[in-house]
């Protein structure tokens, strides 16, 4: 249906597919980024650990070989200062002073021997004494008063004291944070790009499917000669349209065969009927006495009923196979019902029946005029034949949701229980009915051929009600 394009994009399959595809893609790229982040963080850690171990060895070496005199403190302080200038990952612009590196030497009893670093040594010394160190790897130490932990390397020297070199992880964390921000920006960009590509391609792909669907639904309701748009593509969509077209070929073929059968059946029966009718009419002209004419007249009547039965039978058969050929035109049901009620009113009145029409006013349907006329005549004939005197037939025309509702109800005896289960089947009729039992089956066939529906029920207060709905606009089932 063409109104599909008016649907919000969010309800389309293309949207859902690309959403899921993007989700998978986002998770994948996120995993890759996390892995890379991990790798880089470890690498940075390894580099700063290497620096710490190297520097602490230098410092240890210096501490061992520098005499413990008044100069010792200055020498160590300067060496530490020097080392701090080579801090890895350091942000150059800031830090006039050194606040990311500290050097600490503790004696065997834990007494402080030397301190070079930012601020007071006490929190650092306290934190270091709480921590446990191994000689191979630096350890993380949280110093009270600072938020960022220090990475600290320890080296015991000969005189039994230990030297500690600490490096704030601040710079390292800053580098990683920067990296993360960039990663996330890139990730968002990639995900958005991925979604756009996925959405565009699935939409394009599905628009082929949609045009196939539209064409297929159009074909179902109008002309079997049409075909869905075929494409040269070798993919599933191309295959779908080729398969559909092959299926349509087969359907058209069997429809054609059905039509050939009904046509030739009609032809083979109508030709002799024509000859018989003609001869009967000729002999009717020759018959001078009423007595002679009577059987001929009733034979002609029977013949006409047989013809009508034949036509209706073939229509019902074709409609059952969804193969009824319709030549649609615009019909105003209101006008049609007025004419029909006017046509049937005298006959009803003569039988003591009343007929009333309640109509909403002009209501147009696109339908096969001849079939709809015969259908309404059928419904009225039914009432006329089966209702006992002094009943009322009420014909209603209402407008429903995209459908015209036509109902015929009466206050007669209603449908007999033995037939009410099989009303729309062929040759079902009441015990005392003299019809050929095709009436409602024919009505049902016509209604369904037009994409409508028919219900027949007994009313609660007695009487029968037949409601048929016909689409006011031609249906293209989506």
């Amino acid at each position: 249906m063409s109104s599909k394009t008016g649907k919000p994009v969010m309800h389309s399959a293309a949207w859902r597919i690309s959403l899921w595809a993007t989700l998978a893609y986002a998770c994948g790229t996120m995993l890759v980024f996390v892995f890379m982040h991990q790798f880089i963080a470890q690498d940075i850690q390894r580099r700063s650990d290497a620096w710490l171990t190297g520097e602490v060895e230098v410092l240890g070496d210096v501490a061992e070989h520098t005499p413990k005199d008044a100069l010792y403190g200055r020498v160590m302080g300067e060496v530490a200062e020097l080392a701090s200038k080579e801090v890895p990952n350091r942000v150059r612009s800031e830090s006039s002073g050194n606040d990311s590196v500290f050097f600490l030497q503790l004696g065997t009893n834990g007494a402080m021997q030397l301190w070079a670093g930012p601020g007071s040594s006490e929190p650092y010394a306290a934190a270091i004494q709480k921590a446990t160190f191994s000689q191979d790897r630096p350890t993380d130490v949280n110093v009270a008063g600072t938020t960022i932990p220090f990475r600290v390397a320890m080296l015991p020297i000969d005189n039994g004291s230990r030297v500690y070199l600490g490096l704030s992880e601040r710079d390292q964390l800053r580098v990683l944070r920067k990296l993360r921000v960039r990663f996330i920006l890139w990730w968002l960009l990639l995900v958005a790009l991925g979604f756009a590509i996925a959405f565009y391609t699935t939409r394009r792909m599905l628009s082929h499917v949609r045009s196939i669907t539209e064409a297929a639904s159009r074909i179902g309701h109008s002309d079997l000669r049409e075909r869905v748009p075929a494409s040269e593509r070798k993919d599933e969509v191309g295959q779908l349209s080729r398969t559909l077209n092959r299926m349509l070929d087969r359907i058209e073929n069997s429809m054609h065969q059905l039509h050939t059968i009904t046509d030739s059946l009609a032809h083979d029966l109508r030709s002799p009927l024509t000859a018989i009718r003609g001869k009967l009419e000729m002999s009717l002209l020759a018959a001078t006495h009423g007595e002679q004419a009577e059987p001929i007249v009733s034979a002609i009547d029977e013949l006409d009923r047989l013809t009508e039965f034949l036509n209706a039978s073939l229509d019902v058969a074709e409609a059952r196979a969804d193969a009824l050929r319709l030549s649609r035109s615009e019909i105003d049901l209101d006008e049609l019902l007025r004419i029909m009620v006017d046509l049937y009113e005298p006959s009803m009145a003569e039988k003591g029946l009343q007929i009333r029409l309640r109509s909403v006013g002009p209501l147009t349907v696109e339908a096969d005029a001849a079939l709809v006329h015969r259908m309404v005549a059928n419904l009225f004939d039914n009432e006329l034949k089966h209702l006992p005197a002094s009943c009322t037939v009420t014909v209603r025309l209402e407008s429903g949701d995209g459908v015209a509702l036509l109902s015929v109800e009466d206050d007669g005896p209603g449908f007999a229980p033995e037939v009410s289960q099989h009303l729309f089947e062929r040759r079902v009729k009441g015990k005392d009915s003299d019809g050929h039992g095709l009436g409602l089956a024919f009505v049902d066939a016509v209604v369904r051929a037009h994409g409508g529906s028919l219900t027949a029920t007994n009313r609660e207060n007695g009487g029968a009600r037949i409601v048929l709905s016909l689409p006011t606009v031609p249906v293209h089932v989506a």
Partner: protein
């Protein structure tokens, strides 16, 4: 029955022996001069030898398709209108084309009266219309088509609009038989075959108003055939 001043020449093309013979008989009785062909070849021969005023062609012929025959005849210069007879269910698109071109189409089986009425219509269409009268007169029945009133022997008849249309149709075909389905088609615009007596009751009511007591009954029922409005 009906005699024309100069008999119309009619070519009947129908392969079924039974139908051909009764059609020929009844058409001749209706005043046509009939040549009957049983296949396309014979039809073309006839058409080459004579000029016909009207053609009746069955669609299913043994040697060719009725429509191709009509198209071939048209190519050879035949301009006469054609009444197509068909026992098929579906109406071919080409038949629709011919219908638009002024020809007519009748489904088998049919009532003779209807066949004759259609032939008359086709012939009327082919002759230039003479100034349409605003009054119709049959015996002492008079219809004023503008004021939509009918009088019998000067007395006004109380007719509903629908009854007037029905009476007008009968008057236009005075002296000729009209069938129930012709009435339904022309008066109500319905191509239906009700298996109840709806048309009869309308005629019965109309007769009650037109044929008063002591007057000569004008509307006659021909049982098994239809109705006729007497014109003499």
């Amino acid at each position: 029955m009906m005699n024309y001043i100069a008999a119309m020449r009619l070519l009947l093309v129908e392969d079924e022996q039974d139908i051909r013979s009764f059609l020929r008989l009844s058409l001749e009785e209706a005043g046509y001069e009939v040549d009957a062909a049983s296949d396309g070849e014979a039809a073309e021969r006839f058409s080459a030898e004579n000029a016909y005023d009207i053609l009746v062609v069955d669609l299913g012929l043994p040697d060719c398709d009725g429509i191709s025959l009509i198209l071939r005849l048209r190519q050879t210069g035949v301009k006469a209108p054609v009444l197509i007879l068909s026992a098929r269910r579906s109406v071919d698109d080409r038949v629709r084309g011919l219908e638009q071109g002024g020809d007519d189409y009748l489904t088998k089986p049919f009532a003779l009266a209807e066949l004759l009425a259609r032939l008359r219509n086709l012939l009327k269409r082919n002759t230039p219309a003479i100034g349409e009268s605003t009054r119709l007169r049959v015996m002492d029945l008079e219809l004023d088509l503008l004021r939509r009133v009918a009088t019998r022997s000067g007395e006004m008849l109380q007719l509903t609009p629908q009854e007037f249309v029905l009476l007008e149709y009968l008057c236009r075909n005075a002296g000729r038989v009209v069938t129930r389905s012709m009435i339904l088609d022309k008066v109500w615009g319905m191509r239906i075959q009700p298996d109840t007596n709806v048309v009869d009751v309308h005629i019965y009511r109309l007769r009650g108003k037109v044929d008063g007591k002591g007057q000569q009954p004008l509307i006659r029922t021909l049982r098994g055939v239809g109705y006729v409005l007497k014109d003499r």
